[in-house]
Each structure stands twice: as C-alpha cells, then as structure tokens.
C-alpha cells in the first residue's frame, strides 16, 4: 500500500516536472511572483538580522551588565557622597562600582603647557572592566584610590602634546599645580566606550585618568555625579536596578528628577523590539507579493487543468482515482511554487550578501528565514493549487473524453 503510494508520488512528480519543463517560459513567468516575494522576505529578514546583530554587538561593547547613574542631586545635595557609594556597593549582586569625576584642567609638563585636558577620576573597578584600556604601564590600583595617590595615565593625544614623543613613563605632570607621576599610557580601545566619550567633555587636549579620590580633592568636588554600577550577571540587572533605585531615593530624599539610571539592557531590548517590529512589517508587505504570486499559480493551474481535460479523462478511464488526479495536480503546483521559493531563497541570500558587503555588516545566513521562504512557497502551492486540483479530480471522465 505504502509502496503503491510512493510509486504514485514518484510518477506524479515525474509527470509534473515534465509538464513544467515543457512549458518553461510560462512556468517561469508564473513563478516570478513567488520568486520576488520569497527574495524580498529572505533579503529583508537576513538584512534585518545582520543589522540587529551589529547593533547588539555595539551595545554590548558599550557595556551590558552595567547600570549608569547620573545623579544631579538636589539643591541641598549635589551628588552622591562616599557613604552613598558604600551603600550602593553593598547591594546584592553588585560586583563593583566605578564612580566618575570629570573635569578639565590645564596640564603642564617640563616641556609643555596644554589647556583643556580632560581629567577623569576613576577607580580600579573601571580598569578591571576595561581590560584593554592600558597599553603600557599599569592600571590604577585599589591602593592608589584609597591613599589618593598622585598617579596618572594619559592617552595618545595628551602624550603627544605634553611629551612630543618622549617616553612619558615615570615623568611628572602638573595638574592644577599638583605633581603627578605617569604610570601608564591608555590605548585607543578607550574610544570604544561611547558612554565614557559622551560623558567626558570631549575637548582635543587629550585625556588623563587619575584616581577619583585624588580628583575629588584636587577639584574640590565633594559629591559624585556619575557612577557605573557593574552587576555580577546580566540576568540580575533588573533586580539590581530596583535595589539601586531604593538606595538613590533614600539618598536624595525621594526627590523627583534627582537622578537617572541608564540601563544598557533595556536600551538594547527597546532597540531589538523596534527592529523586529520593523522586520515583521516589511515581511508583511513582502507577503503581498507572495499572495499575488499564489494567485498567478492558481491561474496557471486552472489553465493547465482545462488544457489537459482530455488527459485527465483518459487517466480516469485507465483507472486513476479522483484522489490520484488531485494529487498529481497538487504536486505540480507545489513543485512550481517550491521551485520559485528555492530560486527566491538563493536570490534573497545573494542580495543580502551584497548588502552586507556594501554596508560592512557581518553576513548571517538565517536558517529560519530559509525555512520560512521555502515553507511559505510550499504553502502557497498547496493553498492555491488546491482548487484547480480539486476541479481536475471532479471532472467527469465521459465529458472529459468527449471534449476531443
């Protein structure tokens, strides 16, 4: 029984391929709609997925697992005190906190005088989180922070302007009159930290990093306005955020707008949601092409059925059951539609590959997009082939044979 069915499937497929091949031009024009629809869907999904991956990577580079606190404070209290920092550090699942004290100052070396140098005060946690930050020398240590050591790391710009290519390691610089020893040079990787860039005043005098405690003393700052809170795992970000809100509310007496928390993950989520909504919308539009393609297939199948009325009658006279006739025409429409789908998948992937090369995105072949394209086109073949196949199977063999 199964063997009989398989044999019939095989024969139907052979007949279908032959019929499609015999009217190549017509078949091609018929499946064009499907090709266009599937191409559009595959290209859209693949491109959007590449874009999403790209954006996600960029955001991750900016720092996931990290909450950025901007504490403008209240008129009475213009930022977080060291006690507040201790409370924040004590929140469960907080791995570390990294306060930022940012200002600009005029910096002097034995050879030069540079204005508008960004002076950023950080702690050891910041360096631990940004491993690539130090290209030469050492990072700030906990000891530097605790004992307010006068040590500094400087970036390439500052190095160039202050030392003119001379090795800065161990040299002295004077910031607001205080002497600092250079212990390290910052790498360009620092530039990846978009948030840090946005926070620093972005002057072209270069950038110098010193312990934040030293920076507070140096600039006379008593409160911390900017803080990164690192969580142990990205899954606990939300719970840490609400605990953090509690601490900050207590610190600022529940005053509105006294602080702001930027959660990288929620930003990322929003972006993801937006992108996937856009993908769905575009795919929806592309599906219209598939619908039109499906109607084209139905039209061609109806024409085929009327053209082959005699053949259908003959097959019935020779013992084909109505179901077998229906199967043959259904297979023909599925093959037709599926071949359009396969061409569409290939074209769609090519289009998105070209796009990824032009846009300099990573090319991601999405298995689900291919499955969707192939599945969609097969479904179109079944749905739109059903009525014509049904019509063929219902033909009365006597009438069909008489129509010669």
């Amino acid at each position: 029984m199964l063997r009989k069915k398989l044999s019939l499937w095989k024969e139907s497929m052979r007949m279908s391929l032959m019929n499609i091949w015999n009217s190549k031009m017509r078949s091609f024009l018929t499946v064009l709609g499907i090709v266009i629809g599937v191409t559009a869907i595959i290209a859209l999904i693949t491109i959007m997925q590449s874009a999403t991956t790209e954006v996600t990577e960029e955001f991750t580079a900016m720092g996931t697992g990290r909450l950025v606190v901007n504490a403008t404070g209240t008129p009475l209290k213009s930022g977080l005190t060291l006690d507040d920092l201790t409370n924040i550090a004590a929140i469960p699942d907080v791995e570390g906190i990294s306060p930022t004290v940012s200002s600009t100052a005029t910096v002097k070396s034995k050879a030069a005088w540079v204005e508008d140098v960004t002076i950023d005060g950080y702690n050891e946690v910041y360096f631990k989180r940004n491993q690539e930050l130090v290209s030469r020398g050492r990072a700030l240590s906990m000891l530097d922070v605790q004992s307010k050591n006068r040590v500094a790391l400087l970036d390439a710009t500052a190095q160039q302007q202050l030392f003119f290519g001379e090795d800065p390691m161990g040299q002295k610089v004077y910031i607001l009159g205080d002497e600092f020893t250079i212990v390290g040079v910052l790498s360009e990787a620092d530039n990846n930290d978009v948030l840090a860039q946005a926070q620093s005043s972005g002057t072209d005098g270069g950038r110098i990093i010193i312990p934040y405690t030293t920076a507070m003393t140096l600039t006379g700052t008593r409160n911390i306005a900017s803080l990164s809170v690192y969580v142990t795992d990205t899954s606990v970000t939300d719970s840490v955020q609400s605990a953090l809100e509690n601490v900050l509310n207590a610190a600022f007496n529940y005053k509105d707008d006294s602080y702001r928390i930027i959660n990288m993950e929620s930003l990322l989520d929003t972006m993801d949601t937006m992108l996937s909504m856009m993908t769905m919308l575009l795919v929806g539009i592309a599906s219209i092409a598939l619908l039109v393609g499906g109607i084209g297939i139905m039209n061609m199948m109806l024409v085929t059925v009327s053209e082959r009325t005699t053949e259908i009658g003959l097959r019935k006279a020779l013992g084909a059951e109505p179901g077998q006739i229906q199967l043959q025409f259904l297979i023909e429409s599925i093959i037709l539609s599926l071949s359009g789908g396969v061409i569409g998948v290939i074209l769609g992937l090519s289009v998105s590959y070209i796009f990824s090369v032009i846009a300099n995105f990573g090319f991601v072949v999405s298995g689900s997009a291919i499955a969707l394209g192939v599945g969609f086109s097969a479904a179109v073949g079944i749905v739109f082939g059903w009525a014509p196949a049904r019509k063929a199977s219902a033909l009365n063999p006597i009438d069909a044979l008489r129509s010669v």
Partner: protein
C-alpha cells in the same frame, strides 16, 4: 461461473437534458461469455456511447443490474469504479488518446501506474504488450513519430497491458484508412483468438462483421443481430 462473467439486466439510463428527462437506454439485457468477440452496432444517437460508458464502468445505470465478474457495478463508488476500470477493462478509443509527450512505452505503462505496479515490472509488461502488437522497434517513439495505425496499436497495447478481462473498443478504426483499419481489426481478431473478450462499439457494419456476434442498438434498445453471418465469417 460463466454466467457471472458479464451480465446486464434491465439497464435504464436517464439524463436530465434541460427541463426534459431523456431516457437514453430503455431496458437493455446483455450477457457476454468469456472469450467472446461482440460488436454493438448502431447509428449515432442510438445510445451506443452511453452503453459503452456503462460497460466501461465510466458511468453507472439509473436502473438495472450490471454484474461484471461477480460485482454489481451499479453499487460501486468512484474509487471502486476506478479500480474496476484499471483491472478489468482495457479501453481503445477512436482517437487513440495517447499522451503526446510520452513515448510509446510510457503511454502503455500508464494504467499500470494506477495499478500500483513497481516501475521495473511496469516497463517489462509495457514492452511485452508493445511487442505483442508488433511495435518492437517503436518503443521510444512519441505518438507524433508514429502513423495512425501504429498509434492505435500502441493504444491496444495499453489496453492489454493490465491483462484486463474485457477489451472495450469504441470505433477503433474510425480515424484510420481502410487498409490500416483492416490490419487493426485483424489484430483484434488475433487477440480474441488468444481468449480475450472483446466488445466493440461501431456504426460501421463492415467493421462489425469482424466480430463473432453482433447486437444492434437502436433508440436505446438492443436486438440480437446477424450473429450467424458473423460467426460464419469468423
């Protein structure tokens, strides 16, 4: 057993023609024994096509009983009728009805596909049938590469391929010239001599006389014809 082979009693067929109910067959009794060569002779409009459709299980009678090999055809559904057509009846049509895109062997193979026979066996049987009708070297010719007589031979081979109990021919020489028509009739006679039952529908007395037995159909009624003559000739 012999009586049960092919037996029609009181076959009536009515069609709704617009507002009018037309009775095409008005009570036909017909018994065919195994191995017989029967001609049904009648002018057009006599109901002979309708009778052929019923004999060929393409249609079911409005009234009456048609027993073919112990099965009452009137009581079968479309699927069962398809199976009967496939296994019991070999059709030969006036216009050959070959599929133009298939070569001879694939055309002959066609009914075997619906019989669920594996491909190797199908091709072997199709070839055997084509050899039987004398087309040994035309196996891979398409219908348009064959003459009318050869095409009808392919059609006869197709009818024989399933090893049916009846070969049902509808004006088999209608589209052929006299010489090839006669050759085709000789082939039918040969096949009949091998023990195959043949029922042939025609309006041409000369063709009908190749049969051993002739029945006349006129206005939906059957009368036994010049059987004597025909048998003498056979």
């Amino acid at each position: 057993m012999q009586n049960d082979f092919f037996h029609m009693t009181g076959i009536v067929k009515r069609y709704q023609m617009g507002a009018e109910l037309q009775t095409v067959l008005k009570g036909i009794d017909l018994t065919v024994r195994e191995g017989e060569f029967l001609s049904v002779l009648g002018p057009s409009g006599s109901g002979k096509s309708t009778l052929m459709n019923i004999i060929g299980c393409l249609d079911t009678p409005t009234e009456g009983e048609y027993i073919l090999r112990g099965r009452n055809i009137a009581k079968l559904d479309a699927k069962q009728l398809a199976a009967i057509r496939n296994q019991e009846i070999g059709f030969v049509f006036q216009s050959f009805q070959l599929l133009p895109r298939l070569d001879a062997i694939r055309n002959v193979e066609l009914p075997l596909i619906y019989g669920g026979i594996p491909e190797k066996q199908r091709l072997a049987r199709a070839e055997e049938a084509l050899v039987r009708v004398g087309l040994k070297d035309k196996l891979n010719n398409r219908p348009n590469q064959l003459s009318g007589g050869q095409q009808q031979r392919v059609a006869i081979a197709r009818a024989l391929a399933t090893n049916p109990s009846i070969v049902l021919a509808d004006e088999p020489t209608g589209a052929l010239d006299q010489t090839t028509g006669r050759q085709v009739m000789e082939l039918f006679e040969e096949i009949n001599r091998e023990g195959r039952t043949i029922i042939m529908i025609t309006h041409d007395l000369a063709i009908a006389q190749h049969a051993k037995r002739i029945v006349h159909i006129l206005d939906g009624l059957l009368t036994e014809g010049e059987a004597q003559n025909a048998q003498e000739k056979a």
